[in-house]
Symmetry: C2
Subunit: 338 residues, 2 copies
Amino acid sequence: MGRVRLIDVAELAGVSMKTVSNVVHDYPHVAPALRTRVQAAIDDLGYRPNLTARRLATGRTGMIALAIPEIDHPYFSELSRRIAEEATRRGYRVLIEQTLSDTVAEHAVLKDREAGLVDGVIFHPVRMDAIELATVHKDTPLVLLGEAAIPSTTDHVMIDNVAAAKEAAQHLLALGRRRIAFLGVVDGDITVSTNRRLVGYQQALVEAGIELDPDLVLTVRDFSPESCADATRAALARGLRFDGVLCRDDKFALGALQGLHRSGLAVPEDVAVIGWDDTALASYTLPTLTSIAPDKPRLAKVTLDLLEERMNGHQGVGRHRLVPHSLTFRESAPELPR
Amino acid sequence: MGRVRLIDVAELAGVSMKTVSNVVHDYPHVAPALRTRVQAAIDDLGYRPNLTARRLATGRTGMIALAIPEIDHPYFSELSRRIAEEATRRGYRVLIEQTLSDTVAEHAVLKDREAGLVDGVIFHPVRMDAIELATVHKDTPLVLLGEAAIPSTTDHVMIDNVAAAKEAAQHLLALGRRRIAFLGVVDGDITVSTNRRLVGYQQALVEAGIELDPDLVLTVRDFSPESCADATRAALARGLRFDGVLCRDDKFALGALQGLHRSGLAVPEDVAVIGWDDTALASYTLPTLTSIAPDKPRLAKVTLDLLEERMNGHQGVGRHRLVPHSLTFRESAPELPR
DNA sequence: CTGAAAGCGCTAACAA
DNA sequence: TTGTTAGCGCTTTCAG
């Protein structure tokens, strides 16, 4: 424990606590002589201010909580990094909270866990919906991420999933593909995100005058690449044919690549593949993966902007921000020649 | 802000603060009548204890800091998850700190950043060495991870890198490979970890009576898979031949897989590949990747054990723990038939 | 420009 | 079993 306190420094330097505090905070109007004397005492004793005490006194903690489903999901770990960097830049520290998509854990995030611990919360819900979120009494500034819940009372940031999915599907169409699959819907657990993406996918097909084939929407056991590989092979094995796949995210796309390869199909020659999130994974694969790229730095910036305004007292209804996205072209669904 | 305080509840319920505190903490000896009355007041006012104040009073923060090079590196994000889970189980919350392998940031971790903020620190250094670490005055319990620095004064947890590298190389030998490369040494930036792994690799070869060929230790530009792919292709292009590669970590191995594939070589037929860290990446690749697997859950457990003992007042010299590792067999270097 | 003292909200020793 | 009260270490008016 930092045994040495402000008052110890004050006594050694023969000044009051206030003066020491002034020196610690680089308050300009301190007599140079005093300043050096105090500084010497500080160094001498190895004094470091107790942050907890400072917090109690100021009411500010300088920390924000980031609650995400999984720390080690590539998208969330990359997003966390961006948010942590942006927060650091603004003088905040980030407390990362893992909900594991658990309903209880998600409620806990908004309940007493953070009281007086952080100045604000960034929360990417999976289970809680808008209604639940709206009814929780929240006394800490909050910004929501993702598509799961968009209560009108709360600030919220996301990308336009419908538009992004549509653009991706249109790119596959532009590559001349006509039988385009969607991978996938997790059995018995369709999330809002998946749903939005599916809508965009269907819009693109319909607008292109292609009849929807429900069989082309593949179902998978769970969120693992393995189950996506299995689903892909099984679909192929039962005679389903397609020449393009839009995947729910990059992990699903990796599964698709594995499944296609093991079924003897070539990517992108036989089947073009598009992933989602543009995580580092996309450059690690063979072939490399074309992927929908949310603008993560911008996402981090906009989120922190909103949160900081709230922390500075901004009141009013929830604000809703759409962050840009793009398509990062790689080998699995190359850019059109132009 | 949680405007309502303990004393507000006490007044409303017509009891003392102590009684309210007892109820909040589920202290058993409280008259049932009082308990319900107090609980009603708590619910009524929506009281939530201010954690910062509690901390100041108790001197315990219930938080530990985890300082790692990069949040979004697969190994560290997986390790973070394990540590966060283990910590949660023990009633701690984890503050994740990203150093980006920066010397200044690493020093900051041990300096004033954490004072009075966390009860303990878990730190995976990259730049700081044992000498530097030993000279920093640390007044917060600390456990070190990794191979970079092993000061005798501080608790420390790692796996036996030399032994692990040796076993991996021996597996390649058992597969009948004789020209085994090591990928790779980052140009101008050899880390201690890389060094230990290289030693183990060499020991295995020497013990097998194979002459060391310095050319087989490949140099790469940086830590990216891309540069590893390039290095692999370049080596092959200049006529270097090998039938096995031991990689510094899984990301390097992905680069090797890419480079080999693009050079027209088959894995594992032409070249067997082994990665390191056994991250999720290893099951995502084509072929899937055999990888050295540190026992991450155990690593988390042992680390928290040591840290908790320190936080509970354990004094004494640094303790040094070796955590088990194994080889997870996948396609890139299959298990021996038996 | 510097000092004195009143909190910040909660805990825990000590009383009752 | 419940109440009183003195801190925890720092910040911050308000005087001087």
